[in-house]
Every structure is written in C-alpha cells, then in structure tokens.
C-alpha cells in the first residue's frame, strides 16, 4: 500500500472511530486513548470492530488483538497492516 492510500485509510479509520465514540466531544487524534479520551467500553469496541470489518472486509478482530489496542493509532496500524498483508 502506498503512502497516499495509507493516509486515506488512517483518515477514514479516524472518522469511524469518532462516529462510534461514546464521548460526545471526542477528537480522535492518533494518540487519543480509546477509554480515557473517547469513552470507549467493551460494547462500543465491538461495534467499532464490526464497522471496520464491514468497511474493509476484514476478518474478525481477535480478542487477543482487541485487548492490545489502547489508542486510535493502534487501530489505524491494525487496519493498515491487515490490509497490507493480503
């Protein structure tokens, strides 16, 4: 994936993360923490996983990966690397 395509993916992922964030005034900068900054909880994270899987045709986000995700950048990285690997 070239840099432009990557940047597009990252921007779109940020949009999706923001649209599903429980915190009303959420600003999904890359280093924003899902829980502390964006108000995410386990059910919202599940909805985010479904949305990303639908958007990009990704395989189900594993519980192991889900537990390692802390920030918006972690999610961007996951989507970018999963797309790059296919």
């Amino acid at each position: 994936m070239d840099t432009t395509a990557q940047a597009e993916v990252r921007a779109r992922v940020q949009e999706i993360v923001a649209s599903l964030a429980p915190a009303a005034d959420a600003t999904p900068t890359p280093d924003a923490a899902l829980v502390a900054d964006l108000g995410y909880h386990s059910l919202a994270l599940l909805e985010l996983a479904f949305a990303l899987e639908d958007e990009y045709g990704l395989p189900p986000l594993s519980e192991e990966v889900a537990q390692s995700i802390r920030t918006v950048a972690d999610i961007e990285d996951y989507v970018v690397s999963t797309l790059a690997a296919r």
């Binding site: 909880h41 386990s42 059910l43 919202a44 189900p60 594993s62 519980e63 990966v65």
Partner: protein, 399 residues
C-alpha cells in the same frame, strides 16, 4: 441509632471467613449501620431488608451491582460499565418488567421441568468425573464449577464444540470486565459478545428454540442492542458463580451438621428441604445494593436521598427475630421466606433452575458415594457480597 464504626469492616479477613458473628452484632447493636469510610449504610435485620427489597420506589436498584464496596462518594456501577446500558438487576419497575418478561418464559415451572433429565445427566457426569479423580478430586472444579456452566450452555444452545470457549467466557465475565480494568480491559470478552451477537441475530447452531429467542424479542419492548448483549453477559454472572457458590456452601454446611447428611443419605426425598435450608443457612449472594431515591426512615435511622445501602441477605437469613434457632441447619424448617433468592420484584429469576441443579448434584453425589470428606481446607471467595468456595479438595468412598 447510627452504627458504630468498625462493627462491619469489609477488609477484615475474619469477616470473609465467617461473617455471621459480625452480622449478629450488627442486628443487635446497629441494624441500620452507617460506614463513614465507605459512605454507605448496612441493613441487617430480616424485616428491614425485606422492606427495602419490596419498596422499589424508595429503594432503587439503579445504583447497580458491584462485587466490591465501591468508593465513598462514588456510585456502584454494573460491571459491564457502559453508560446508559440498562441491565435487569439494575432497573426499577415498571421498566424492570419489560426486561424480566423477555426472558421469564425460559424459567417457568414447565420450562425448567423439561430440563430435569438433562440437568440430572450433567450432574451425574460431573460426579463420575469427581470419582475418577479420587486422590486429587476437588468438589469445586469437578462438580460445583462446571455444572452451572454446562446447564446454562444447554439453555442457550451453545454447541458442544464451543463448550470450552463458553467456560472461558464465563470465567472472564465473572472476573471484572472493563469497569476496573482501565484501558487494557475493554477487548476482553470480545469473542463472547461476538457469539452472543450472532445468536441474537438468529444464526442458530441448532434448530430448536433457545433462550436467545426470548432475549432477542425484548427489542420490541425498547431494549437496545447493547442492552441485549449486556443481558446475555449478565446471565453468566447471575447463573453460574451464584449456583457454584451455593453448592460449595451447602457441602460445607453438611460437614458441619453430619446428622443432616446421614438423614439425606437415608432418605433422598429430603434433598429439596436441604437445598432450601442451605439457601437460608449460608447463601451465596450475601448482599446487594440499593440506593434511596428520597429521604426516608429505616428502623430508627433517618436516611438521606441518594444513600448507598447494602442489604445483607445473609444476615436476614440468620435473624433470631424471624427464625427460631437460626444457626441450626433444620430439615424440618419451613423456610418459605428466607432471602437466599432475594424478595420482591427482583426475586431471583433463576431460583427454580438453581434448586434443580443443586438437588441434582446432591442426589447424584449421595447415590454414587458412601461418604465424601474434606481432603484439606477449602478456599473461600474473597468478597463480602459473593460467598462461596474457589476450591474444596475432597476424598470420596464410591458405593
């Protein structure tokens, strides 16, 4: 009278080992005791506990449930920890009835009756496993812990090849989910919620109806998708650890009263009476939360609005004002009004199922053994609210 500080110290290990002497002191000296460190009230007499549980307009369940005592000034959240996600146990009438009606069909006498053979089979299989492990057998891990998991899996139609995962999920959910886990924890339970989502959307593994059908129908009553998932997770919390704890507490009670065990072995028809008295004598849900919606008077104490109240079912069940010889285990007792399953609108939905499971386990255990004895001390749960054992090594003499 307001309570004395120190009469109920939640972090005192002797309280966890045996809370009943403390309860007795509370009932006598401070039946509605204020704990300033925790900013909460503790209610210990049968009459007061019953009133709190009945008067849902004054004593709300919306304060939620929590396995610990929370913080002074803080709320007690249900452990899913998602704001605006209602859970059955933390709702008040009239919306409580919407949630309850959605799943009540699965717990009618007829529905539970239909499960009898399967529950018996599960209990028999696990008792056999216990016998097969004689030497390193553990009543908790071979019988009390798996039986409720397998029964709930049956109710939910979990396919056999996913039983292992289902057991892992129940362990995850009975530990904390995200509420106390901070940033690290919100991915925990994702596989479980995925499975529940698929089931609620009708992707059945079996052709027959399951509890998920009833839960999914609650959408028509205004229950959101998130709430449906939270409810599924709550079923694991409500239906597994509580029943496991009851089984381990009852076995420990029988060791304390050997003449009761002998009576049961002589006449298995007495087993249901023993289960009921066990629920009174050492129940698994020792206490739950309520919050006052308005200033009110309870016993001799004036409570403000917004008071955090811990109602002690375990103490109410030993109240000498209500039960004769409360510290004895009597098979002849008429214990229709013990609070082992609570009281009022929130009375345990799964009471009938729990009774069936515990009766089946005791019956199968007595049929397969001449004796069952402790092979060392059991380990108690470390919670003021949820009382049981997390291990109980045993040795058995097969028949």
């Amino acid at each position: 009278m307001t309570g004395t500080v120190g009469v109920f110290n939640p972090s005192d290990p002797t309280l966890l080992a045996d809370p009943y002497p403390t309860y007795a002191r509370l009932r006598t000296d401070a039946p509605v005791a204020y704990l300033p460190e925790n900013d909460m009230w503790v209610v210990s007499r049968h009459a007061d506990v019953s009133r709190v549980l009945r008067e849902t307009a004054v004593f709300s369940s919306k304060a939620g449930m929590s396995p610990d005592l929370g913080r002074a000034g803080g709320g007690v959240d249900y452990r899913i920890g998602a704001p605006n996600v209602r859970v059955l146990i933390a709702t008040d009438p009239p919306e409580h009835q919407v949630f309850r009606a959605a799943v009540a069909g699965a717990f009618t006498p007829r529905a539970i009756g239909a499960l009898t053979d399967r529950v018996t089979e599960i209990a028999r299989t696990q008792v056999r496993r216990l016998l097969a492990h004689n030497g390193d057998a553990d009543f908790f891990s071979h019988v009390a812990e798996p039986v409720p998991v397998l029964v709930l899996a049956e109710l939910l139609g979990v396919p056999r090849d996913q039983l292992g995962r289902f057991r892992d999920w129940s362990n995850t959910i009975t530990a904390d989910l995200d509420q106390t886990a901070g940033d690290a924890g919100i991915g925990r339970g994702m596989d479980m919620f995925r499975f529940f989502t698929a089931q609620l959307r009708g992707r059945r593994h079996t052709g027959r109806p399951t509890l998920f059908d009833g839960i999914a129908r609650a959408r028509e009553g205004g229950v959101s998708d998130r709430e449906l998932l939270a409810f599924c997770a709550f079923l694991l919390v409500a239906g597994i650890e509580t029943t496991t704890n009851l089984m381990t507490n009852l076995l420990a009670a029988l060791w304390r009263f050997p003449h009761v065990e002998r009576a049961l072995r002589d006449d298995p028809a007495l087993v249901p009476a023993a289960v009921e008295e066990g629920l009174r004598y050492d129940t698994s849900v020792q206490a739950l939360w309520r919050g006052s919606t308005q200033p009110t008077r309870l016993g001799d104490v004036d409570l403000p609005a917004g008071a955090r109240i811990l109602v002690l079912f375990g103490s109410a069940n030993r109240d000498e004002r209500h039960f004769a010889e409360p510290d004895e285990f009597l098979l002849t007792r008429k214990t229709g009004d013990h609070l082992g399953f609570g009281h009022g609108p929130h009375f345990c939905l799964g009471a009938r199922l729990a009774r069936l499971e515990i009766s089946a386990v005791l019956t199968e255990l007595f049929a397969a053994t001449k004796a069952i004895e402790p092979r060392g001390p059991g380990e108690r749960t470390r919670s003021v609210l949820l009382r049981g054992f997390t291990s109980q090594p045993v040795s058995v003499q097969p028949t």
